[in-house]
């Protein structure tokens, strides 16, 4: 994290579910225009971390976005300020059409016009073919595209992606991560949580390894990808 100014800074964040502390003092920084990955095993606290940054979960610690401390800022206001989360469970409006889902994605931009439906359809032509279909009837991959498309409709500055490749075929995973890289090139800053550590690090600028709710390792993505500990635990030897 050298010369780039940080868009998001998290200091000593703690999140508890009752007596269980799922995130235990995490600090991280996401530079503007970068892709930063968080990798870690199941239950490491990755989704919890994203939820707390977004304001969907109560937390202790400090979250700074675009130079402002977000303390009492509710989730919906963070969306309006340019942060958007694509959660693990996607949270689509299943009984509404693809197009309605997308249009609602631009809800916080409603005073600036209808949102960039065309841009999303260019990026995901499949969604245009399915625009009148109910979101709940889409395939898993299509639903993930819709979830990302809906998030893009809000024209986010910071996109938080929670396992966008979950349950998808390898070909689609590559496609989705390629689109994430494109988004970064278009100026969107991305905080990416992925099980698929190799593919995630390949497109990332920086990475963090989360274990038991704490940051174990961090560094430039290329270095992490060759770190023996990371290779042993998260990258395996296969493909």
């Amino acid at each position: 994290m050298t010369a780039v100014s940080p868009l998001l800074e998290v200091h000593d964040l703690h999140v508890s579910y009752g007596r269980v502390e799922a995130v235990q003092g995490v600090s991280l920084s996401v530079g503007a225009g970068q892709i930063v990955s968080v990798i870690g095993a199941n239950g490491a606290g990755k989704s919890t971390l994203l939820g707390a940054i977004m304001g969907a979960l109560p937390s202790r610690g400090r979250v700074e976005y675009a130079g402002r401390t977000l303390a009492h800022t509710p989730l919906e206001s963070r969306v309006a300020a340019g942060m958007t989360l694509v959660p693990e469970r996607r949270e689509l409006f299943s009984s509404m059409t693809v197009e309605d889902n997308l249009r609602l994605g631009a809800y916080t931009r409603r005073r600036e016009g209808a949102g960039d439906l065309g841009g999303v359809f260019t990026r995901f032509p499949r969604l245009e073919e399915r625009r009148k279909q109910l979101a709940g009837t889409l395939s898993g991959g299509e639903q993930q595209m819709l979830a990302i498309g809906r998030a893009l409709m809000a024209r986010p500055k910071l996109l938080l992606l929670d396992e966008p490749s979950l349950g998808l075929a390898p070909l689609i995973v590559r496609e989705i991560l390629r689109i994430v890289a494109e988004l970064r090139d278009a100026g969107v800053t991305v905080l990416l949580v992925e099980q698929n550590a190799r593919a995630a690090l390949a497109i990332s600028d920086f990475g963090y390894v989360l274990e038991g709710g704490q940051v174990r390792l961090s560094g430039p993505a290329a270095d992490l990808a060759h770190d023996p500990a990371v290779v042993a635990s998260y990258l395996g030897t296969g493909k």
Partner: protein
């Protein structure tokens, strides 16, 4: 509940002779049908309001009928040149909600928002008070009184949401239902205090009759059917075509998803209650000329809308509206041949429908957040 409004024949007196009357008599049947549709249209509107409020806020809104009662009786008060008690209720709720908003803003450390909330609360209250007292004393024309009635009753929706249900927004459906029943009792009590025990009618908006293919309908009941139909079309347009309407549906479908696109659940809840109060108040204005409404009339009217809503499983708008129309029709036929058994018949005939619904509906669990 709603008496026969569609015809000026002396049908009730015929019925009271206790003769075995055939509702399928070609001279009677169309009249009863029109009558049933008139009442059913109002029940249908109420059932839509109930489905909407439940879907967006998970509140089973028992006091929906009280908006109807406040609608009729506020207009009746204004007709008599009195300042309706509704104004007092509105001002008290406005004061409480202003205090809540100010406290909340101060907690956030936002002094400007606190000042704004306090200022706008006081200004709104003063404005409504001045307008109501002036217009009430001046005995304004009917249309102005109707608009004033809406101005007094409709804000009760969002204010009651702010004061009662917004603080409980994370509570279980059961707790919300208990609050809802309590609120119903409070509003009925206030209705008694404000308007007294007697029923009142309001003047008809349309005089005379119109012959439609051999059936003579009063213009008033035609107006009820027409306004209800227009209102339903407007609601359809709102939910199907506008982004705000879609945002309400989205909140109902997936609350977390709605929050993630920036829709505040409290704003959605407030809007749902506004629509519900508008529907209730308009229903009260529509039925006011047909029946004598008193402080406790709202419940039974609301209950019939509720039966429609239940038939729609509290989720389907078209099924709820059709169910409510069915209730109106059954009630009308029953009131003709067996008027003293009317309510019994209405609610008994509903049982098999509900049984069938509960057996045939797939149980989909409520979306947990």
């Amino acid at each position: 509940m709603l008496g026969p409004v569609a015809f000026s024949l002396s049908a009730p007196s015929l019925a009271s002779k206790g003769l075995a009357l055939n509702i399928f008599d070609p001279a009677i049947f169309p009249i009863l049908t029109a009558d049933g549709l008139t009442n059913g249209a109002v029940y249908a509107l109420l059932s839509l309001a109930l489905v909407l409020v439940f879907a967006v806020t998970r509140v089973i809104f028992v006091p929906q009928g009280e908006f109807v009662m406040f609608g009729t009786l506020t207009l009746a008060s204004l007709q008599l040149g009195r300042v309706p008690g509704t104004l007092t209720l509105l001002l008290v709720l406005l004061a409480i909600s202003t205090v809540l908003n100010v406290v909340e803003a101060l907690r956030r450390g936002d002094g400007r928002a606190a000042g704004l909330a306090a200022g706008s609360g006081v200004a709104l209250g003063a404005g409504v008070w001045a307008l109501t007292t002036t217009l009430a004393a001046a005995k304004a024309p009917l249309l102005v009184q109707v608009l004033l009635t809406l101005l007094l009753v409709v804000p009760l929706g969002p204010l009651l949401y702010r004061v009662v249900f917004q603080p409980l927004r994370n509570a279980s459906v059961l707790v919300l239902l208990i609050a809802s029943v309590a609120l119903h009792l409070v509003l009925v009590g206030l209705g008694l205090v404000f308007f007294g025990p007697e029923g009142s009618r309001t003047p008809a908006f349309a005089e005379g009759n119109t012959a439609l293919g051999g059936v003579t309908l009063s213009n008033q009941s035609l107006l009820v059917i027409l306004v209800s139909a227009v209102l339903m079309l407007a609601l359809y347009y709102f939910f199907d075509r506008t982004l705000t309407g879609k945002a309400l549906r989205a909140t109902a479908v997936n609350r977390m998803g709605a929050r993630l696109v920036g829709i505040r659940p409290t704003a959605a809840g407030s809007l749902a209650f506004t629509v519900a109060a508008l529907i209730g108040a308009l229903s009260g204005l529509l039925i006011g000329p047909s029946i004598a409404v008193s402080y406790d009339t709202g419940f039974l009217i609301g209950l019939k809308g509720f039966v429609g809503a239940i038939i729609g499983g509290l989720v389907s708008y078209p099924v709820a509206a059709l169910g409510a129309l069915l209730v109106g029709l059954i009630e009308s036929y029953a009131s003709f041949s067996l008027s003293q058994w009317k309510e019994v018949i209405v609610f008994t005939l509903i049982l098999p429908v509900l049984l069938w619904r509960s057996l045939s509906s797939k149980h989909h669990d409520e979306e947990d957040e």
